[in-house]
């Protein structure tokens, strides 16, 4: 699919995720035992044959850029195409949560003006799903559409502040809104747009850089042919600490896991050479997802364990998410909690959150 250029927009805040995204932004947020959020749109693009991707990075881009590197794991380390790091506009103070700020696109006009592909696929990094963009393009061409937005039906309750679309019987979007009571079709932060229309829109809105591309599309549903493409697969979304934990635990369901980690369209992530996970005699484990490099001596239940985690003897972990390089020392208990990278619980410590609002242990904290 050499006629599509990809743009991943990662320069926005999700303030409801508190410290989880403070130092790393949403795109570098860990998800599903060994991934970061960027892996999902980036893998979707690579699996759909997109070979040129522009990545708009937030101001705290260190971890993100280290993770993505030259795109080797996504086969984007190419001479023609490849991954281009595009500086974000350091968050426009008027619209810090806008996912597709015009300012970000404008600032990288060198890149967008040089696009020779006929189409641009723009995606944010807040939702987890496995999609074949070739199918979106086919529907785009069949509808003779100028802009196609990917949506999920009956989903608006999960993505409150997102746009939802109202369509006519042909699938053409007639109304697009963030607070629509009439429609329940949540837009999945995925836009397929004809390159000439994109360039025209960016030009026409000179002076309105604080606007979001979605807002501009919403204002132009009559002027341009905007169609919806219904995505029928599984989508994981979260907009706060609680739903972040439940979205991760969703992967414990076989159907969900097999849908997201589709074997024919694998989700790739940065590679590390690490040994398998070691379970000792005293280990007890049930209904959990575990990445490699960990050592399990205690007990784990309904939990998501990332790489290089040590759970010592006599410890109990339940209904928790433990990010990479964390340690739970002997005879401690972690329940209803999220533990950020490089943190630890010392011996005989209990951290028990509320089932409805899990406890968050920050990065590099030693309790």
């Amino acid at each position: 699919m050499k006629n599509i250029t990809g743009i991943i927009s990662a320069d926005y805040l999700v303030s409801s995720l508190k410290t989880l995204t403070k130092d790393r932004g949403i795109a570098a947020l860990p998800f599903g035992s060994k991934y970061r959020m960027i892996d999902f749109p980036l893998s979707n693009m690579a699996n759909s044959g997109i070979v040129l991707v522009g990545l708009i990075v937030p101001s705290n881009f260190g971890l993100l850029v280290e993770h993505v590197g030259i795109g080797k794991e996504w086969n984007l380390d190419k001479k023609t195409g490849g991954i281009f790091i595009l500086p974000g506009s350091s968050i426009d103070y008027r619209n810090p949560e806008g996912k597709f700020l015009l300012n970000d696109l404008k600032q990288n006009q060198n890149f967008t003006d040089s696009i020779t592909d006929k189409y641009i696929l723009i995606s944010a990094t807040s939702k987890v799903f496995n999609i074949n963009y070739r199918d979106v393009l086919k529907s785009h061409i069949d509808n003779n559409s100028e802009i196609t937005l990917v949506y999920k039906e009956s989903f608006s309750e999960f993505c409150k502040s997102d746009y939802s679309a109202e369509m006519d019987s042909s699938g053409r979007i007639i109304h697009l809104d963030t607070s629509s009571d009439n429609s329940n079709n949540c837009i999945l932060d995925t836009i397929l747009i004809n390159t000439d229309i994109f360039q025209k829109l960016v030009q026409n809105y000179d002076g309105y850089e604080y606007l979001d591309l979605m807002k501009i599309i919403a204002d132009n549903t009559l002027k341009y042919k905007v169609y919806g493409y219904e995505f029928k697969g599984y989508v994981a979304v979260f907009n706060n600490i609680e739903s972040y934990l439940t979205a991760n635990q969703g992967l414990l369901n076989d159907e969900v896991r097999n849908g997201i980690f589709n074997l024919t369209r694998p989700i790739s992530t940065k590679m590390y050479d690490i040994p398998p996970t070691k379970y000792t005699k005293s280990a007890e484990i049930s209904n959990s997802l575990v990445a490699t490099g960990s050592t399990i001596k205690g007990s784990i239940k309904n939990s998501i364990i990332f790489r290089n985690v040590l759970i010592e003897e006599g410890s109990k972990v339940e209904n928790a998410l433990i990010m990479q390089n964390c340690t739970i020392n002997k005879n401690s208990k972690l329940k209803n909690a999220i533990m950020d990278e490089h943190s630890s619980l010392s011996e005989n410590t209990e951290v028990i959150g509320d089932e409805a609002s899990p406890m968050l242990i920050d990065k590099n904290k030693h309790l």
Binding site: S268, T269, M271, K278, A291
Partner: protein
């Protein structure tokens, strides 16, 4: 070295082997041959027993060969970038074992090595065994003291059991279906 190889090539009585022919011929010619003493861990995995024992030794609390050592990492192929984490199901259990990516564990695993993409069905039992990549032990099957080859399948309700002194083996891409006494009644 090059000379010795060329000379050896034309000899009919040669095994064409470094240890048996080339090195001794160099010695005969009084070339400067020296030994270097290696003091670290080493193990020849040339037989089934030594291959099995070497892997089982990794399950010791503090194995002699420390694959967890971050300073001297053992590198592997690049496929680990596309492999998902392993999943232990509600009624599954794992003790004293190593488990790699992708694997699904619905049954009970004790003192075993579970490679990438292995599958252990519900109520299946795997003890003192090595499952190579893609090996599948289906529901209710029992595997003990065995090595299951890559992408091989041990079918439902079957016994595949070796002993401590006689490790049972099934090669790559094989399928084991129970018959008679191998069937769990």
């Amino acid at each position: 070295m090059e000379d010795a190889l060329i000379k050896n090539q034309t000899r009919r009585d040669s095994n064409y082997d470094f240890g048996k022919d080339i090195i001794p011929s160099l010695l005969e010619e009084k070339k400067k041959l020296f030994a270097y003493e290696f003091n670290g861990y080493w193990k020849d995995c040339g037989t089934i027993d030594s291959y099995y024992d070497a892997q089982m030794a990794l399950l010791e609390e503090v194995p002699e060969f420390d694959i967890f050592n971050k300073k001297n990492k053992i590198h592997s192929n690049t496929s680990s970038s596309v492999t998902k984490p392993h999943h232990v199901d509600v009624n599954g259990s794992v003790k004293q074992s190593l488990v790699a990516n992708i694997s699904y564990i619905g049954g009970h695993v004790t003192h075993s090595i579970i490679s990438n993409d292995a599958y252990i069905g519900k109520n299946a039992v795997v003890e003192d065994s090595i499952l190579l990549p893609g090996a599948k032990v289906l529901n209710n099957a029992v595997v003990k003291y065995s090595i299951i080859g890559e992408n091989s399948i041990i079918h439902e309700n079957s016994y595949f059991i070796g002993t401590k002194d006689h490790i049972k083996i099934i090669g790559d891409l094989q399928s084991f279906k129970p018959k008679g006494k191998e069937l769990i009644s």
